[in-house]
Symmetry: C2
Subunit: 118 residues, 2 copies
DNA sequence: CTCATTAATAAGTACATGCTTATATTATTA
DNA sequence: TAATAATATAAGCATGTACTTATTAATGAG
């Protein structure tokens, strides 16, 4: 979930789109004119942004009006900071890793060394 | 700058490393043991994270002890939110785009239409 | 209905990225 | 000094991604 959002943000064209949409909502052909890049390119990037939840769209005739989902973005950032702060053992996806967490750094290396010696 | 940071965060293995380092500093071989993935894979991902500024490292003998640069991360998030909030015309990289910004949505399309008609 | 406009999608291509295996580098230890 | 440990780097490969051009779909206007 964080992954798809960061991946969406980690691309220059999409970052530009985000910033432009932060100013006001725009239709695809507006973005085309403003950014001077091809229409399919816009559409493809918007698709990524929509799937990540960062951009909302509504249809208005033949136009697709896009807007930045600022609430979602702010919320995600907030959640990410909380995610980093919460105890490792409370993260289900990292249960295995958590169980292998050493109590001091370098312990793992020492363990490997000891296994060989013993 | 935001790009490299988001790109670094937009990858599952690196996100895991970030979360593990949020718990405590770890050397490469600790990460290897904890995550059960190959050493070059760890080193390569750490390189990306270091270049993005997210991870610091120090040498301790033959060990490379890595730590999350939490201050930098928090600061970046803060800056990103400010970046999105500040007026478009104050962003140098988007000066061109800003100058082409329409006053109402769909204006660009209308412009194109008018050009043809006239 | 026909044609133009807006947008989405498909196909193809070049380049980027993540991984593996193998090797090089540096520091420790015997 | 020789051997080992920890890490970095190189090379090769497979997959992913961003772009282009071409096509399709849907809406609106004449």
């Amino acid at each position: 979930m964080f992954e798809s959002i960061f991946k969406a943000l980690g691309e220059p064209t999409r970052l530009k789109i985000i910033k432009l949409l932060a100013d006001r909502e725009l239709c695809v052909c507006d973005l085309e004119e403003i950014m001077k890049i091809s229409q399919p390119r816009i559409s493809q990037h918007l698709k990524v942004l929509k799937h990540a939840g960062l951009v909302n769209e509504r249809k208005e005739g033949q136009r697709t009006i896009c807007s930045l989902n600022r609430k979602f973005l702010n919320n995600t950032i907030e959640q990410f900071e909380q995610y980093l702060s919460k105890p490792l053992e409370t993260v289900p996806e990292l249960a295995e890793e958590s169980s292998r967490m050493p109590t001091i750094y370098g312990e793992s290396c020492m363990k490997k060394y000891c296994e060989k010696v013993l």
